[in-house]
């Protein structure tokens, strides 16, 4: 009998839980950071050789992304700017496959079985992620020519992580999964508008700031919002689409981009669209 997955042998053990930090503004950059999420996945293969080619790894998708930034000038007639970075064309897809190497299917390098390994054998793979982002604290309003300062931002990254074995034929066997997310929302105000590289007041919005993780869910994911893209190499990876909403050289969408809206006064933009 060739090597097979031992029924009921897969496990996910949680290690570190992600905790979001209060956003910061340093040297003209607003940063949104968190501690890492860490987990360990295992599965046992039984039977006999040939077993080479079996692999165990984690897949990950980001299936919801909230990402908007609101800037305004020191005075009403200095204007305001709204960046909606989680809608097309800045973010052309809703769900993305999350991998370290763009061309990979697994999130990171999988554990693999060799032709010389004796069976039964337990494969073990670690998972680690620590999402973060950063943005300019000051942007020039093209309508007024005045500096606009980051006033409020909301960022929400919602993920599903799947422990999955791949057989020598390349077929994935999704074993277990869990959901998790990190969320930041805060208001910002420089101590001195003339010194934006100096200190800032940062006031997190309690309901918009936090993190969460589900329990482990058995079997193949059935969530139709992302189940079809888990192993689809045609779907863009999350880090690969970053330049679409955070383009060089300064990471800010340029004047005229549909996802950059400007006003010559302090405007209340609708964050839902």
């Amino acid at each position: 009998m060739a090597a097979v997955l031992k029924r009921g042998s897969s496990h996910i053990k949680f290690d570190a839980f992600p905790t979001v930090s209060r956003p910061t503004v340093n040297h003209g950059k607003a940063s949104f950071e968190c501690s890492s999420i860490e987990a360990t996945g295992t599965v046992t293969l039984t039977g006999s050789q040939p077993a080479a080619g079996w692999a165990l790894g984690f897949l990950q998708v980001e299936w919801i992304d909230t990402n908007w930034l609101y800037y305004r000038g020191q005075q009403n007639d200095h204007g305001s700017i709204f960046f909606q970075r989680s809608r097309p064309p800045a973010r052309p897809i809703k769900a993305c496959r999350d991998t370290i190497v763009e061309t990979d299917i697994y999130y990171d390098s999988p554990a693999t079985l060799n032709a010389t390994d004796a069976l039964p054998m337990t494969l073990t793979v670690d998972h680690f992620d620590q999402p973060s982002t950063t943005t300019s604290a000051v942007v020039t309003n093209s309508l007024t020519g005045e500096d606009n300062f980051i006033r409020e931002a909301q960022l929400e990254y919602l993920f599903c992580t799947v422990l999955s074995a791949r057989d020598p034929a390349g077929t994935f066997h999704h074993l277990k999964s869990f959901y998790w997310n990190v969320r930041w929302q805060a208001r910002f105000l420089p101590h001195d508008f003339d010194v934006p590289d100096g200190a800032w007041y940062v006031t997190p919005i309690a309901a918009g700031q936090g993190s969460a993780r589900s329990h482990v869910i058995e079997g193949e994911p059935t969530d139709k919002r992302f189940k079809d893209i888990l192993t689809d190499p045609a779907v863009s990876t999350c880090n690969a689409i970053v330049p679409l909403y955070q383009p060089p050289p300064d990471g800010m969408l340029p004047v005229g981009h549909p996802c950059r809206r400007e006003s010559s006064v302090w405007h209340s933009f609708d964050v839902r669209v």
Partner: protein, 165 residues
Amino acid sequence: MAQFRRSGVIARFAGVAAALSVSVASQTAMAQIRNLSQPGAFAITASPSGAPFAKQGRIERQNGASWQNAFNEFYLVDDCRAAATVPACVTLAPGAELRPVPWNGYSCNGQCPRDCKGNVYRPPGVFRLVLTECGSGAMVTGEPFFMGGQARMRDRSGRSLPRTR
């Protein structure tokens, strides 16, 4: 401060002297990479004829007898604000030394701040810096160095954020 030159663009950098590793000949010909006391920090010293490099180097991790890519956006800049505008090919002036912003061990924002979804802390392990010469594509490889598993994420002000485990 030494100077990088290309098409009239001049970027400023810093400098020291060096040791070698695998590709001794190519290092001697173009530049030397010296590992500094802080793991992930390097001093790159150009040969007397100067050293033209691709703006991005990479960090490789030792995996048995082979080396695998661990971080491929190692910019030859001593200030992250220059990373977005540094030219594709930069030349380290003869004898000049550059101390790029160090690699902090992360796979995504391992050197300069950027948006990251997938972001892995690569250590513990043995790593090396690899640079590519502009034009010829020749590699300059630094000496292996060890980076430990105590991940500490630092923001650009130097404040450290302890990682829970």
